[in-house]
Symmetry: C2
Subunit: 193 residues, 2 copies
């Protein structure tokens, strides 16, 4: 067997280039050629590792999601449940360059998913997990809250985080870190009551 090449690593390289292009130039710029260029190769390599362009985009979305989840899990160690909740929410929001790029990718996929059933299904599943995760954190932080109120609270919380992220990406000057933090504080304060 010739040419010992790590298949998974090559795919990761390409996926990485892909979501970087999406974040910096938008989905419509994420052509096969542009992706290849960003990965320092030609389209040949891209088509060699992915059946078609959709696969590449799908993989990029999964990769961004995975990275976010991993970072969130790192905050679960704290003792104060309210602080754990706060730090998780702040970890998701676009407060630094990394998360800003991630949100740019998500926003792009939001637009795509609106018309693509397959993407919508995947997005729906991820969102369900995210919601369940937050629900658990909220229950821990406010055990006395009745289930139906908690459910509505989590709905509002998930939605507000989505909205805040979008605002912060589309209008970063008007939404500095301080303002996002204030919104999260208010969100937590009211959601647990």
């Amino acid at each position: 067997m010739p040419k010992v090449i790590d298949h998974d690593w090559r795919r990761a390289e390409l996926v990485d280039a892909t979501w970087r292009v999406i974040a910096e130039e938008g989905v419509e710029a994420a052509t096969v050629r542009r992706i290849a260029e960003a990965a320092n190769c030609t389209t040949g390599r891209v088509t060699h590792y992915f059946a078609n362009k959709g696969e590449v985009l799908r993989a990029a979305l999964r990769q961004v999601h995975g990275a976010t989840v991993e970072r969130m899990l790192a905050h679960l160690g704290g003792d104060d449940p309210v602080e754990v909740l706060r730090s998780v929410l702040l970890e998701v929001l676009p407060l630094d360059d990394t998360t800003r790029l991630e949100w740019q990718v998500w926003l792009a996929f939001f637009g795509l998913a609106a018309a693509d059933p397959e993407l919508r299904a995947e997005q729906g599943r991820r969102n369900g997990e995210w919601r369940a995760f937050l629900d658990q954190l909220v229950e821990r932080a406010a055990p006395a809250l009745p289930a139906d109120r908690r459910s509505a609270s989590v709905d509002v919380m998930v939605a507000a985080i989505d909205g805040l992220g979008a605002q912060a990406v589309l209008d970063p000057d008007r939404f500095p870190r301080r303002r996002l933090r204030a919104a999260v504080d208010r969100l937590i304060e009211t959601a647990l009551a």
Copy 2:
């Protein structure tokens, strides 16, 4: 002068076809030819009334926004400020087919705006107006609320509406009207406290 044709009406026809295509098939399907087809004409007419495709999309976004604003203003007559706020929020959310299509368009533009500075500027301006409008309604509904708390509340409210709309469009089965209403109730209850 021959051919008495209402210029504005023709433009409106084309804009209408445009946002319908975007809502039902996504932005990437909104090509000049597809728009022309949806408007029952050829690309000749489209290029005759718009300098380029960007203009058409811009006009479509403006038209959708205008329609929403108009419908919201119809709810301002009530006496109970809290009920006015609630009905305005419910009017924006995708509770019927019309608003669902509108949200589909917005979502598409969110994705586009992430990479297009011109669109982002326009979106930012609109969002500022929407925020100011809600701020006024909240102040009327909860005059005792300190300004800084109100500010954070409105941030959360705007964000939550954006997020709820997005969720409802991307995963309509999981977000029936009842659930959206419950979230709005919870949102108002906590935002005014």
